[in-house]
């Protein structure tokens, strides 16, 4: 090989390396600052006040922290974006295992709270005045962050579930929004018979909504109390759960719904394209889809939302998917001060208003849920439909709370494999749940839990 080519190759290599370096650059500032040190992504307004470090990733978090820092003289927030969801948890998990490097306050998705609470990585906020803000939230929202008497986080937002659907598809095939799961299946069969698109989707990669749908039918997969953290009850293969998963497996088997992973470009482009007549999702989904480019082009004005179909229309049940809390880590230098930040950050009116008007969050704070402006808001995404009043606020208020898995990441990974097996036609819903139950029992015993 001659010299010229070698130079060209090294040149190409260097360009490639610097390109990837650029790609990763966005995380640089986040990675640089661990617990208290490093640079803050929002300037400190009052230099004399003690500083509490916060990890959070919501896109309007800078505005929220500016609002906080400008209005507080006694404490300031140093914000770091340590990644979204799983990326942040991986860093937090490493910090927890290492015993240092965690921030004082951390934003967690609601279903992740028990994972870290169990490892004693979070402070029980009931000892730091959490009851003062309990009244700001609905019963279900508060139960989600509590275990027994302990409180491990202050809710920011939630995800009351509903059924988004495509009005254009429904019109074309003469379908009315189903109110029960039987009607949902009937509509799916009608669509298929008429050569229409798929009714919905069963994603393997995000099992959380499937768990919520099982809970809608009365399943209680996890039972434990943080007062007795080593005792655990797992009930994943109850008749209620099996009924739900067999129902979805049946829809897949009959080719009525898709098996596409969600939160992927594939799914988004399919949703925009009208490949799915409905999207069983949560209140934050319109904002997520808008950010991903939906509702602007050919599909503008085609989306509507209806309450989640029910198993028993006489006793409707509301369920929740997603939402986040602010928790205080046990590595916090001043837990009292950190608890104050967890309770007051993203709880002021300007921040909450910015959050819901920008479609970043569906707030759980009662001050917003009861405000006339929020109730009467006409959503552009839903073509002027008053989605909050019609669907999301009633769903949020009717939500009774649930208990999430104390090893959620492992549980979700295993459930993902089971749903993938269903989607590949290898297992029925019941078989998948029996296997899942056995795997989770084995895992729990191996982790030292006592099974009840």
């Amino acid at each position: 090989m001659n010299k010229k080519i070698m130079t060209a190759l090294f040149g190409a290599g260097t360009v490639m390396t610097s390109l990837t370096a650029c790609g990763g650059g966005g995380d640089g500032e986040a990675a640089a600052s661990g617990g208290g040190g490093g640079s803050c992504s929002v300037p400190i307004a009052n230099a004399d006040a003690p500083v509490v470090s916060v990890w959070a990733w919501y896109p309007n978090m800078k505005t929220v922290v500016e609002n906080f820092n400008d209005t507080h003289t006694d404490v300031q927030v140093c914000l770091t974006n340590a990644g979204q969801g799983a990326d942040e948890y991986a860093k937090f998990q490493t910090a927890v295992s290492a015993g240092r490097g965690a921030p004082d306050v951390i934003m967690l998705e609601t279903d992740t709270v028990p994972v870290f609470a169990l490892q004693e990585a979070l402070v029980d906020l009931s000892e730091h005045g959490a009851s003062e803000v309990e009244g700001n939230f609905g019963e279900g929202a508060w139960r989600d962050v509590s275990s027994g008497d302990a409180v491990y986080g202050i809710p920011i937002d939630g995800g009351p579930m509903a059924m988004m659907y495509r009005q254009d598809v429904f019109d074309q095939y003469g379908i009315t929004p189903p109110t029960t799961w039987d009607e949902y299946r009937a509509a799916a069969e009608e669509l298929k018979a008429a050569g229409g698109p798929l009714m919905g989707d069963l994603p393997a990669n995000v099992p959380a909504p499937t768990v919520a749908l099982m809970q809608q039918n009365g399943a209680e997969p996890w039972t434990y109390d943080s007062a007795n953290p080593t005792e655990l009850e797992i009930d994943l293969n109850s008749p209620e759960s099996k009924e739900v998963l067999d129902y979805w497996a049946g829809l897949v088997e009959d080719g009525l719904i898709g098996t596409q992973d969600q939160f992927t470009t594939e799914y988004i482009s399919g949703a925009i394209n009208g490949d799915y007549a409905t999207y069983i999702s949560a209140a934050w989904a319109p904002g997520y889809l808008t950010g991903a480019g939906a509702g602007e082009g050919a599909d503008a004005g085609t989306w509507r939302v209806a309450p989640l179909p029910q198993w028993d229309p006489a006793n409707p049940v509301s369920v929740n998917w997603g939402g986040s809390v602010l928790a205080v880590t046990s590595q916090a230098e001043d837990p009292e001060l950190a608890a104050q930040v967890a309770m007051e950050l993203y709880a002021d009116e300007p921040s909450l208003t910015d959050g819901w008007t920008s479609q970043t969050i569906f707030p759980l704070n009662q001050s917003v849920l009861n405000s006339q402006e929020f109730i009467d808001h006409q959503s552009d995404f839903f073509d002027g439909q008053t989605a909050n009043k019609d669907v999301y606020i009633p769903a949020a208020n009717a939500y009774e709370g649930s208990t999430y898995s104390p090893f959620g990441t492992t549980f979700y990974a295993q459930f993902t494999e089971e749903i993938a097996a269903i989607n590949a036609g290898e297992k029925t819903g019941s078989e998948a749940l029996d296997d899942l139950q056995a795997e989770m029992e084995a895992y729990a015993e191996q982790q030292g839990f006592t099974l009840n």
């Binding site: 090989m1 080519i5 190409a12 990837t20 169990l118 080593t230 992973d261 992927t264 990974a413 006592t450």
Partner: protein
């Protein structure tokens, strides 16, 4: 004494960033840390668990099968390309040499992302060609071949360069002598060139065996877009990574890593033992 001084810069880095973490990982692998029990000394329990763990064993079986298919494929591509390029001297040959090598210059992550888009059933080229019936190359049935393709594309160019360099090292007088004896180009390639570069081929094989058994980047990158057919335990390395950084089982992940190291070591040792007569580079 002075010799040690010269060795010091390397030794410090070597001890700090290779031996140190290895020792620490081994230390970690001797404990268990249950979510409900806390840390306990476990001796070699993690290892006996690893070698009976179906997830780990199926991962090892996957990479072994993968190695059996992918290594011959990429070596064949590399060998043919190198032999062709070696016998040509045109401008086109130089250009081709560069183009075949380029995939190796692309970082593996970027390469995997690129193939992820090419495989996409919604906007990939297969969809444009075959429409609705387009095969999804990351479906459970096609996954093996989908990954084989990515890895061959990535590494064949690199092996080609090694083989090509070895070919350039052969004295042209030998070819001249062969031609005078009436050997055809085909015969020169199979009877002279390939035997004379066998040491380079063995070297490549060792690289490929080690690399394939540690298969990680492509499945890890393609995992989120595979609709669940790439699992978190598809290869031992992916399994170890996810155990540690997703499921917080650092101790067991360390044991898995060491268990994989043992498997690789045995694999390579057996291989070198079998080829000890020809392999000239590890004497």
């Amino acid at each position: 004494m002075v010799g040690w001084l010269f060795l010091a810069p390397f030794a410090v880095v070597f001890l700090l960033f290779l031996v140190g973490p290895l020792v620490y990982a081994f230390y970690l692998s001797l404990f268990t840390n249950g979510l409900a029990t806390g840390e306990e000394f476990a001796g070699l329990a993690n290892y006996s668990r690893a070698f009976t763990d179906p997830a780990f064993l199926s991962g090892v079986w996957f990479v072994v099968r993968f190695a059996i298919v992918v290594i011959p494929a990429q070596m064949l591509v590399a060998l043919v390309a190198a032999l062709v390029l070696d016998s040509l001297t045109s401008r086109f040959a130089k250009f081709s040499r560069l183009m075949i090598f380029v995939p190796y210059a692309i970082p593996a992550v970027i390469g995997a992302v690129l193939w992820g888009f090419l495989y996409s059933p919604n906007f990939g080229p297969l969809e444009q060609l075959f429409g609705e019936s387009a095969p999804f190359l990351l479906s459970p049935d096609n996954l093996f071949y989908g990954l084989t393709n990515v890895v061959t594309w990535q590494w064949a160019g690199y092996y080609m360069i090694i083989i090509y360099a070895a070919l350039q090292g052969i004295d042209p007088a030998i070819y001249e002598a062969a031609r005078m004896d009436g050997a055809k180009a085909w015969q020169i390639a199979t009877r002279i060139k390939i035997p004379m570069i066998s040491a380079a081929l063995v070297l490549i094989l060792v690289f490929a065996v080690i690399g394939t058994l540690q298969f990680f980047t492509e499945p890890q990158v393609l995992l989120p877009i595979s609709n669940g057919s790439i699992t978190t335990d598809i290869t031992p390395n992916v399994y170890a990574f996810n155990l540690a950084f997703r499921f917080a089982q650092f101790n067991y992940a360390s044991a898995i890593s060491f268990a994989l190291g043992i498997v690789v070591f045995i694999g390579v040792y057996v291989f070198l033992f079998l080829t000890r007569k020809r392999g000239g580079f590890l004497k």
